[in-house]
Structures are given as structure tokens and as C-alpha cells.
Amino acid sequence: MNRKAFLIDITECVGCGACYEACKEQNHLPQTSDDPLRDFLSDKTYTIVEQRGDYFVRRMCQHCEEPTCVSVCPVGAFTKTEIGAVLYDESKCLGCRYCMQACPFQIPRYEWGSLTPRVQKCIMCFDRVKEGNLPACAEACPTGATLFGDRNEMIEIARQRIAENPDKYYQHIYGLEEVGGTSVLYLSPVPFEELGFNTKLLKTALPNFTHDALSKIPSLVSVGGVLLTGFYWLTNRKNEIAKEKFEQQKNQRGN
């Protein structure tokens, strides 16, 4: 199956909250607020709709192409599936919360009050998508503000829209290149920073940063090992001299 992605067109969103409700129902999450526009992401809420002036902005896991959470987890509890969904396996997790610390979008949420806490976030309705269905939110969206399909197709649609309506759209597809690309793409009528997006993100995928450091380990260990042995060999000579002296003294005493 091809790599999938969401295309969220902020110009089309009316803030009805249908995606929010559908997500709650699909994932069996309890009600946390009467007003979807006032709720916030939590271990019980995987997606929200934020009101920013005249516009409405969905927030959820971005399902990065090279996910930071996948790379930082010491036990590999996160996986990037073929279709693009980033999934979490609680049976592996040891609860270090490095994924939360490292996520450039500050998405993963934690069950802080639980004795068997899990990391919670949007899972792209993996089971539905796997069977060829739309994620619950995309299916529920009445205006087409949330589209879902092959990532390449979504990129095509996005490019077409901003090219054909330069007055309507800010000329940028958020998520196309941010942190190496994500599986959630946004189109906006205004510059993204005005809607609370982090526009200072780098174009390189974050796992590269730690990969550079980790890739030095083999040379550090081998060169370091040789160096230490060498120093030991050099300085140990002093000990041997001391030993010889001691034996000399002993012999003298023996005589």
C-alpha cells in the first residue's frame, strides 16, 4: 500500500468539530469537553480544532516521514508503518518519555495519573486505513477540509490549489519539507506562524542530529581502547623499574 497522508485545508474548515467527535467515538475516548473548540490535546483527546481569529486549525500527530519518536525510543516502542502511520506499542514502552521530550510538534501525551501509563496520540486510524477505509476524522469532515489519500496525490492537490488560487492561499505547504516531511499537510490562507504553527523547524529530519553523534561510537571505542592500552604500556615501564629496585634491595638484604 502506498504512503498515505492527510491534507488539511484551513480555508475550508468551518470549525464544526465533526472530526473531533468522530475521533472520540472511533478510539473509544471519553468526553472531555462540551465544546470541541475549547478542548486541548490529552491522553483522552487525539485531535482538536483550535480557533485562531477567523480560522480553525486542526492539531494532531503529524506522522513524520522520519519520526523523531521512532528514532529516540530506546526499546523501539514506536514504528513508522508502510502506510505512514506512526504507531506505539505499550508492551515495549518503559516510560522514559524521551518521545515526548524530543517530538518537534509536542504531540505525544501521557497518562500521568495511571499506574500503567501509556503514551497516547493519533494513530491515523491504522486499522481502518489498512482495510482501505478513510480515517474516522476524514470520513466525518462535511466540508472536505480534511482529505486523506496517497501522499503523492495529496501533494499534487495541494500544489494545484495554491497555484490556481494564489490570492486564497499562502504559498506554502506546511508538512511537505518540515523536519524531513510529514504525513499531515496543511494549506493556509495566512502565514503559518499567525496560526500558531512552528515555522522555525528545520528541513532536515531530526534523527540525523543524534545519528551523527552515535555513528562516532565505533571509532571512539576502538581508537580509545588502543590509546588507553598504549598509555598503559608506556607508563607501566615506571612500575617495572620500581619492581627491579625492590628486588635488588631484597637481594641485598638477603645477602
Partner: protein
Amino acid sequence: MNIHIKRLLRPTFWKIVAAIILTLGLYSIYLRFTGGLAAVTNLNDHFPWGLWIGFDILCGVGMAAGGFTLCAIVYIFNIKKFKPIIRPTILTAFLGYLLVILALLIDLGRPWAIWHAIIMWNPRSVMFEVAWCVMLYTTVLFLEFSPVVLEKFRAEKLLKIIRGITIPLVAIGILLSTLHQSSLGALYLIVPTKMHPLWYSINLPWFFYLSAIGVGCAMIIFESYLSSKAFKKNLEFELVSDVGKWIVVVMSTYLTWRFMDLILNDKLSLLFVDSIETYLFWLEIVLGAIIPVILLAIPKIRLNRAGLFVSACFVIGGFLLNRLNVSVTSLQGFSHVSYFPSIYEIIVTLFLVTLGVIIFNLAVQNLPVYEKTEEQILVEFEIITDDDLKVQEAK
């Protein structure tokens, strides 16, 4: 083993303080394991790592760095005169790591899964590397410290085996420490856009490594001073004073590197911005590096017991501030949430420190940590044999 129960139970001011801290600590831990992390910590989704990671783990591992530093000096560079302080230093490092693991068990959301890193591998993760290094190095420290216990129980055969592998053991310990002291810094390489630019640097692993060596040296001075007061062991003062010289070398290198890093990345102007981050940065640099380097460069101060001790305290203070700045201060701006540890988080931290001090005391009183004569040291270095000693004693 002659633990003097009566003497142990005689109440003194510090014993009462310790008892209170231990009780409150145990109560806090009880709350944590009955109500979850939410019940005792101020951690939240925007601030998932707090005092326990910042102090108990980052500072704890750093302050145990005296262990591998001194081992390198004594065993690899063969500067044997430092031998008399190696046992207490290894003991501190060993206790430090045990407490770090204990802290982890409290902080981890699913502590029963801590062993998962052994079979579930993700070599791309810095945390995976740290986990393995901590596991292996704690084992190394255990073996390095074991002769003290084995001597007490006169397990000669085991002693011989351990002494036979001392050098490889020490070398492995140095490599493991180098890896994970720096990796604790590398943990933060992945948050380039979240972290305040005064602290974020591609050289963070090196800064962590150098400052760990610096604080390791400072801890050697700090403990030697307190031990000499507490146990009336007159430690070779000149030895410890020499450690002060290393601090000058290490910390001035560190200082130069950090400023060069700011200059080369065009961050110099940030040093004069009016913000809490700027002040804390200056505090950390002036307190932990500039002042002690100047103090210890002056022979009069370095060769003065109190002067040396105070300088070491500056290094330790600056180090603690640095790790807390990296783990808390530098990330607060981005998360838009202010985090301050809860009273329980502070109590658990005090609990761990107190526990460390108590175990150190007990070990020193009951194990031959300090009782080493010149001759015994020569035996350990295989310069003379046990038989030689017996011959000498017979004479």
C-alpha cells in the same frame, strides 16, 4: 561485621534530620506508586522531564565521574601516588550509579519494563546507548569495588581473579564512561528548535564530557575534605591539591570551548539580552568555571585546605546549575509552561542524596575503604607479592 548498633542508634542532630528525610521520602515514593506520577510530580505533557531527570540522573551520573577519572590516572597513566583515594572515589561512583538506577525506577512510567532495553534494541536511540552503558558500567564499578568487600571476608581466590583483570576492567570503565557521559548531552541534540540557543550546541556531548571530568575532580576534593573531617583520616593533602590543578586545565578548556562555540555560531549577542536565561547562563559560567579556575590557579589558595574545598564547591555548584539549565531552564521558553518541582520531587531527591551519604558512611566504617598501607598498595600493583609482605612482617 561489627556495626555498632548502639552507636548507630544514638540520636544526633544530623541523624534526626536524616530520619525525617528518609521517612518523608519513603512516603513520597509510596504515593508515587499508588497514585502515579501525577500524584507527586509537577510534570505535564509539555514538560515531561523534571527534577528527577535533571538532578537525580544528569547530576548523579556526572558527579560519579570521579570514578573513571581517577581510575585512568592511577591505572592507565600509572600515577600511583593517588592510590590511597581511589577506593572512596570508586565507592562514591558505585553508590552514585546505584542511586541513579533507583531514581530511574521511580521516574520511569513503567519501571518493571526497565530491562526491556536488553532484548528490545533500537541502536539509533541515544537513550538505548545510555541504558546499556549505565548497565555495563555499574557492573564494572561493582567489580572494581568488590576487592574491598572480598578483603574484608578474606576471599583470596576471588581477589586474585579480580586483581588479574583490573587493567582491562578499568579500560572498559573509562570507555563506557566516556560514551555515556557525553551521550547524556547527546540526548538533547534532537531538540535543536526547542532548546535555548545559549545551551543548544552540536558540541553538547563534549561539553557534558569535559564538565563531568571537571566535577569528578571536584568531587574527589570535596569528599576527601569531608572524609578527613568525619573519619579523622588524614588524607594526603598534597595529592588532593594536585587534583585542583587538573580542574584548572579541564575547566579552562571547557570554558574556552563554550565561548568559542558561542562566537562561531554568532550567539555572542545573546549574552547581553535581558532575560532569565541570560542571567542563569552567566551564573553557571561565572560560578562553576571562571571563579574556580582563577581560585585554583593561585597556589596560595590551592594549597590551602579551605581554599581548595571552597573552589571545589564552586565547580560542583556550577555543574549542578549547568545540568538543571540544560534540562529545565533552556526548555521552558519553548514549552510556554513554567515548571517548578513539587515538594515531593524535592523530597525524593533529598531522600536519594541522604541514602547515598548514609550508605557511604556505613561502608567506610565497616569496610577497608581507607585502610591501606603502602605495602598493600604495592601488592595490588603486583610489584611485590603477598609472600614478600609476610617475610617482612616476620622480621
